[in-house]
Amino acid sequence: MEKDQIDPDFSVVIIGGSAGSLNALMQILPHLSEIKSFAIVIVVHRKSTDEQTLEELIALKTIINVKPVEDKVPFLPGFIYIAPSNYHLLFEKNRTLSLDTSEKINYSRPSIDVSFESAAEVYKSNLTGILLSGSNADGTLGLKAIQKEGGTVIIQDPKSAEMPYMPNNAIQNTVPDYILNIKEILQFILSIDN
């Protein structure tokens, strides 16, 4: 069964966050100029109505191409993907993304756990999960799944988070590879291509 078909030159960084995470993202994304060997996926909680604004806001802050996520879009290195509001974002084995409107998880759709778990199944050790600020328990189970599949687990240092609850909850329930402040998270991402 464990015939790992992971792609040698495609890794994925998936970032989850809730309250206070947008600020953190805004301190990371503008400093990335090009991502060659990996894709970035952003899953943040927000109201179902401010969809366009989040994508526009992020697109304004980065020179990396932000791909609008629709059902079954091709999933490729070099791009940023943002989970749309009101859908769970899932990863297919054939390098596409799909969407799902099933029940909210942790009061959230998109749920960070759902996307982390789904990405872990497909991208295994090529996946890095980063959990940022928030005041919700979402993300912890997802990080566990990433760890189980051999991926890398990074949690924002709660001291540097606007809302420490989410990172704290994850630290208490997982064994993270790194606990980093925002600057260090940026350094980590920058080092992936090298």
């Binding site: 899932l90 409107t101 099933s102 789904s118």
Partner: protein, 269 residues
């Protein structure tokens, strides 16, 4: 938790024993749904689950009901309904008779939303609304026109955002936690079971809704189902999909014209 290979076994067995083909459903979502029911029903060995599905038709039905995602809302995406209200209904209104089809209607929230729009436009009396789903349980519930009362605040906001001017609560009677929608809205509705994977076209329509159903299908099946809709749609008719779905990969360009930013396409030839 079940493995990929077990999921494929389940798909094959279900096809062999019941003729239902889940083979073209998106695996990521399907696997989550099967795992959910596997855990909810307390299974720990895949073999036990599989033989229960095989030999107990009632359990099989229950499984199908549970793995289909039935989450829905009234006036979901108000901007979508605004376009229908302002641009589409005036066009459909010129016809002597209007036929609509809601494919994958779930518990009917979308169907009642549409009936309200038709009624307000003075068109309901000359409309016929077909509403279909594979899930018999949600169809039974849809027929009753009963929705949770606690949702009415959100739905009336959606209704208002879509351009609704009436008192939303005049459309239902509240009773013990449920909102029962008025019978006159349901007069022109016909509910029946229809499987988009295996059933064929059954009428010609002026507008077809299939929102947030195709996301559960792989590209191949999406293409087939969109062509089924194409076969079922009159020229100058409209096809409406969910906000993250598209006909782009399924239909020759030039055959349909998209309305603004909404996921509504008009068949132009």
């Amino acid at each position: 938790m079940i493995e990929d290979i077990e999921l494929e076994t389940l798909i094959n067995e279900v096809y062999e024993y019941y003729g239902f083909d889940f083979g073209s459903y998106s695996r990521a979502s399907l696997k989550r749904r099967v795992n959910r029911i596997y855990q909810l029903d307390g299974f720990t060995h895949f073999e036990d689950f599989l033989s229960k599905v095989r030999y107990d038709p009632e359990y099989y039905k229950h499984m199908v009901d549970e793995i289909t995602v039935n989450v829905t809302e009234m006036f979901r995406d108000p901007a979508f309904y605004t376009v229908i209200r302002n641009q589409i209904l005036p066009l459909l209104g010129t016809k002597p008779f209007i036929r609509l089809w809601h494919a994958g209607c779930s518990t009917g929230e979308e169907v009642y939303s549409m009936a309200i729009l038709l009624k307000e436009a003075g068109l309901l009396h000359k409309s016929l609304i077909y509403a279909t789903d594979i899930n018999a349980k949600v169809l039974d519930s849809a027929k009753k026109g009963i929705f949770p009362l606690r949702m009415m605040k959100e739905y009336s906001e959606n209704y208002r955002d879509s351009g609704g001017k009436e008192d939303f609560s005049s459309y239902y009677t509240a009773n013990y936690g449920i909102a029962k929608f008025n019978d006159d809205l349901a007069q022109k509705m016909v509910f029946s079971q229809h499987n988009l994977v295996s059933d064929t076209s059954f009428n010609e329509f002026d507008m077809i809704f299939c929102r947030n159903v195709l996301i559960y299908f792989d590209n191949e099946l999406q293409k087939r189902v969109i062509n089924l809709f194409d076969d079922s749609l009159a020229v100058l008719g409209f096809l409406a999909l969910g906000t993250k779905e598209t006909i782009k990969y399924s239909i020759a360009p030039g055959k349909y014209k998209q309305l603004e930013r909404e996921k509504i396409w008009r068949k132009i030839r």
